[in-house]
Amino acid sequence: MALSGMRGLSVFISDIRNCPNKEQERLRVDKELGNIRTRFKSEKGLTHYEKKKYVWKMLYIHMLGYDVDFGHMEAVSLISAPKYPEKQVGYIVTSSLLNENHDFLRLAINTVRNDIIGRNETFQCLALTMVGNIGGREFSESLAPDVQKLLISSSCRPLVRKKAALCLLRLYRKNPDVVNIDGWADRMAQLLDERDLGVLTSSTSLLVALVSNNHEAYWSCLPKCVKILERLARNQDIPQEYTYYGIPSPWLQVKAMRALQYFPTIEDPNIRRSLFEVLQRILMGTDVVKNVNKNNASHAVLFEALALVMHLDAEKEMMSQCVALLGKFIAVREPNIRYLGLENMSRMLMVTDVHDSIKRHQAQIITSLKDPDISIRRRALDLLYGMCDVSNAKDIVEELLQYLSAADFAMREELSLKAAILAEKFAPDLSWYVDVILQLIDKAGDFVSDDIWFRVVQFVTNNEDLQPYAAAKAREYLDKPAIHETMVKVSAYLLGEYSHLLARRPGCSPKEIFTVIHEKLPTVSTTTIPILLSTYAKILMHTQPADPELQKIVWAIFNKYESCIDVEIQQRAVEYFALSKKGAALMDILAEMPKFPERQSALLKKAEDAEVDSAEQSAIKLRAQQQMSNALVVTDQRPANGAPSDCWRA
């Protein structure tokens, strides 16, 4: 089916398609752009028809990926064309080439306004469409009242009113003040009585936006939403054209349920009862069918109903039904449903106490963690993270660690952070926690931030019983041929502080400890060397009586680094050299690090500060509060004299 009446355009498109390579295509495009530019600039001026042709060509060229900046003016000017065919091109191409940040667009405001308030319905539609798609703040202020008038005008066809509703929605998003709530709340409720389902669909979208900002003002719309839902759920005089594979407008059902989620409660018991009847029927009556589209549509409605049930904080029985449904979903073959099952289970955790029911599905969720589809893996990880508590922490963290070795890079950082947080919150005992973190560093060192290993050191420092264990573990890791730099840092630090506790064990004499650490020095960067120097100094200090051979070796190292170009390294080398010559007095200066004051986990803070939208953020905070923790390692105490900064010398 060729383009009617624009042969030049069809020919151009054919030419482009016949270009054998990108070079030829570029040549052809440049030729055409040159031609268009010349024609636009020429004295003679163009007929509207010719302009139309060139402007379409420009849009096509733009779609191919080339720049067509010079044509913006022409596209916008076509908006003022007197006849529909040209005006249409102006509006549509402008919508594609320009956006609200282009100054040019301002030039059109007057014309657009005239089209909106004028008598020509087709022009009204064009204008409403463009403003609805790309209108910015300025359009918002000038046009909102006119658009509102159209929306509530009984002389306008549904065609115009549904565009007006969405146009107003955009203007509202750009500047919420343009909808004067006092006048509008009643109008909005009236709009929801609309018979035409196209207008109703658009109006409900508008409602969702209004209610999400201010549900107080729109209480009168609540019963209307429930009525809409009832009408659809019972298929009460729904025209065939709005039925999708037998389901009455699934999209409108979803929108209505979405709107209801912005009202905190439903006070009226009758309305509440009606709504729950509808929801119950949806929950229990949605079968799996063969037709993919019908299945998707009915389940779209089902999942939205689930979300609404969760929001309304239904009775326990209904909630268990939901969990049971979700439990079924996470085990089906169909990936979309499985994905949504996992996602909704995570959501359930946040709003209600269904931990125990969900834990029953742990095995299935862990299987999903290893699904070939990364979308599913992500949801499974979120869910495992959310459902972790003291009873299953060990299992879950160990699964995460196991999975970490096989995980792809996109997920490793998140996996590491989550595993570290869970280990900290729910560790059954501290030595397990140390194991977990060291394993993390071993398997995914690149993704383990400094916060994580600082934390381990804090705990070891604060728990004397843990110190020999941690030091021994660190020693074990150092035997491995190739270890991550972070492992070197943490091992060196721990051994510097505590290796003397191991002195009697085989392979743990000061000299041996020093040797095994020093072997790693050539493999590390200048940020780690300062830590190593401190470690050597501490080892020397702890070696009583002094070992002259070891001293000689270490002093030689200090000497060497006295002329290092890195200031930190140089300073330490010089100072440690001088200090270590002082002999016994060194003990006081390089005494063991004192205990750290307890404060909020930097990790949790990191997870909170990560860029999430505000809804997610409050959910995270709520989650953190709700999660019961009998952990040994976490505490919320803040030191009396204010928290010291995170910086401390290692």
Partner: protein, 142 residues
């Protein structure tokens, strides 16, 4: 809301691009490249939803074309998946058994149809009949 709609073929050529959020041309090119890479390699057995930056992309492949919608994280995935299907059904009806070439040579009609279907990033009309009738009205005005 829908942030943008993309129709791309397997080679990554854009057949339709409609943005409901303001992006500069260079940003658009980047987006189109990234979305293509994201969806073209996914196994057909995987979900039709994939995270993209701080949003998500709902996509489906029809013959050689990928239809992708970028929506907000909190949006109903299955509803938008069927939204894509409805759009395809409308195109199929309008062009009588649509193929990629129809969309290439009649791209301006596709924009017109899209503008009757989605506005301001939200669903405007869900009746196939209403949209086809409207297109008929518009054809008469040309």
């Amino acid at each position: 809301m829908i942030r943008f709609i993309l129709l791309q073929n397997r080679q990554g050529k854009t057949r339709l691009a409609k943005y409901y959020v303001p992006l500069e041309d260079s940003e658009k090119h980047k987006v189109e490249y990234e979305v293509h890479r994201l969806v073209v390699n996914r196994d057909p057995k995987f979900t039709n939803f994939v995270e993209f930056r701080t949003h998500k992309v709902i996509y489906r492949r029809y013959a050689g074309l990928f239809f992708a919608l970028c929506v907000d994280i909190t949006d109903n995935e299955l509803a938008y998946l069927e939204c894509i299907h409805l759009f395809v059904e409308i195109l199929d009806h309008f062009f009588s058994n649509v193929c990629e070439l129809d969309l290439v040579f009649n791209f301006h009609k596709v924009y017109l149809i899209l503008d009757e279907f989605i506005l301001a990033g939200e669903l405007q009309e869900t009746s196939k009949r209403a949209i086809i009738e409207r297109m008929g009205e518009l054809e008469k005005l040309e």
